[in-house]
Amino acid sequence: MSVIFVVLIPLLMAAILVSLWNVPKGRKVIAIIGSGAHALAGAWLLTTVIQSGLVTKNISGWIPPFGIEFRADLFSATLVALASFIGLCVTIYVHSNIDDERTNFGFHPLFFVLLGGISGAFVTADLFNMFVWFECILLSSFVLLGLGGEKKQLRGSLNYVIPNLFSSMLFLTGLGLIYGATGTLNMAQLAERTAQINPSTAALVTVVFVIAFGLKAALFPFFSWLPNSYHTPPTAVAALFAGLLTKVGIYAIIRFVGTIAPTTASAVLPILTIVCVLTIVIGSIGALAHTSLRKILGYLLIGHIAFMLLGLIVPSQASMAAAYFYMLNHILVITCLFFFVGIIQWHTGQIDIRKIGGLQAKYPALAIGMAIPTLSLIGIPPFSGFWPKIGLLQAATDSPIFFASIIFSSFLTLLAMAKVWMTIFWRAEVTEAPEMPPCPTTKALPAYLLAAVILLISVFPAPIADLTNRAAKEFAPYFQINGGDQ
């Protein structure tokens, strides 16, 4: 039941909020209540899966392959729970961030369609249904990017939608190919049948899907749409996108290669390794070249996203667990950083680091709060980013080039964030900032809450490490087939 509620609640909320289109009062409060319910459903799903393992449900009672199956294992349930928690934080953050013009043009319904799409993509066990959720995500996020109608927003949303439509087209092509070859679209059945079909067909299908998902995940060479579109929308939207959207692409790659087509992984792994390394290197270098806070974070996001595929590239439970831990931590950290950037923008009216200075003297609490996700992003011990990174490094000893790129990226991340920190916090104030009212509580609360969660994980990483270990065990067949240690 819980596996249905995580998708049902956001969709119902979207429907309710559409019917309140002309009733501006109370919309934001209803949205927060709905997000809270969604977060509870996510937590419920996660505890059910932790206690009793796999949860499956056939929608409307049709058995696969005729009907759609929802399936939550630990790998997807944790992501859903985290996504719904991030959703709650963003809804609270939005309370003071989104102006009336945007709420009047349907910000909240779109937001819930996006959340429903993300949850649906995580729990569906039907490849075509996953396409449908991807379309939900794409359409709602396209409009969210464009809402407000500023010139640069339109450019940003076009930058976003064209590559993503291309990716949808590839996804659909791949669906046709795989359905023609196997006669099913249910993931469990596909996993049995992909081993039996013609290996070159299987390899072709895998390549098509990996390119389609790689585009969504902003892997090299399809990354340039991300920093060009994520810097334009309101920070709350950017935080949600940065935290969750690319991870859906990564999830789909891991799900496809790791669960559906483990036998053909050997055909794509050499290319995937090079792609990942280039993504890491180019993303990290890109972060150094920019001065807009959001673009820096956008490039760092690209630089880090490829780490999460290490579990496929080095097929072992330890590497998958570390990569998964990294992914969960990264969702929290990058969302938190975007929240803080929003607060900085509130105080100074700027996101260009050349025009910001002296924040530490003026806002010491902000400096302390933002230090936590920053240090965690770089991976300084004992902050939460350090624990998965040490695991990644241990696992990557089998792949020297990956090992080197992790080290390289960590140094460049350090350099980029140090540059940001020294300019905006430590140097003297550059221009007289306009006098702004103090930051509203609803804006500060989610940022500091996430920082506190990150701090908590830093001090007690063991439960999360346990969880990720158990989640990684679900890919045991993949490790066996591809000669890992499991």
């Binding site: 309710i16 019917s19 409307s60």
Partner: protein, 135 residues
């Protein structure tokens, strides 16, 4: 651009169109028709009002904001899957039962509720598109 001919015909034709749309909606499960087709027919009658009388009269005729109608339709469609929970079946599982009506026992079930939701969504969305294009 308001034509007296169109206005007069509208007054005759719209009741029939609306009845036809409900007929299409209700026969839809096993025969051609259903929420989508019925909704389009109903929306076309509102489109006629828009053409013949203008936006102000359309709002009076519809009584509600078309976007809210679409939203309420969505809510109904989403909720139509909920009754299945009470008999321990998964979401959206169809529940059918016979309802005694003056015309004899009729088969009704949760898919009819879903179709009514679709009907409202189609009306709401189509009319709100047309209204926006009318400007």
């Amino acid at each position: 651009m308001k034509s007296i001919l169109l206005q007069t015909i509208c007054r005759f034709i719209i009741p029939f169109l609306l009845v036809l749309s409900v007929f299409l909606l209700l026969r839809g499960h096993n025969e051609p028709g259903g929420g989508f087709a019925g909704g389009l027919v109903a929306a076309s009658s509102f489109a006629l009002i828009l053409l013949a009388f203008g936006k102000k009269e359309l709002r009076i005729a519809m009584r509600f904001d078309p976007k809210s109608i679409a939203g309420i339709g969505l809510v109904i469609a989403v909720l139509s899957g909920i009754p299945a929970f009470f008999i321990g079946e998964p979401y959206l599982k169809a529940i059918w039962f016979m309802l005694p009506t003056p015309l004899g026992p009729t088969k009704v079930g949760t898919p009819v509720i879903f179709d009514i939701g679709v009907y409202l969504v189609v009306i709401g969305i189509t009319v709100s598109f047309l209204e926006d294009m009318d400007e």
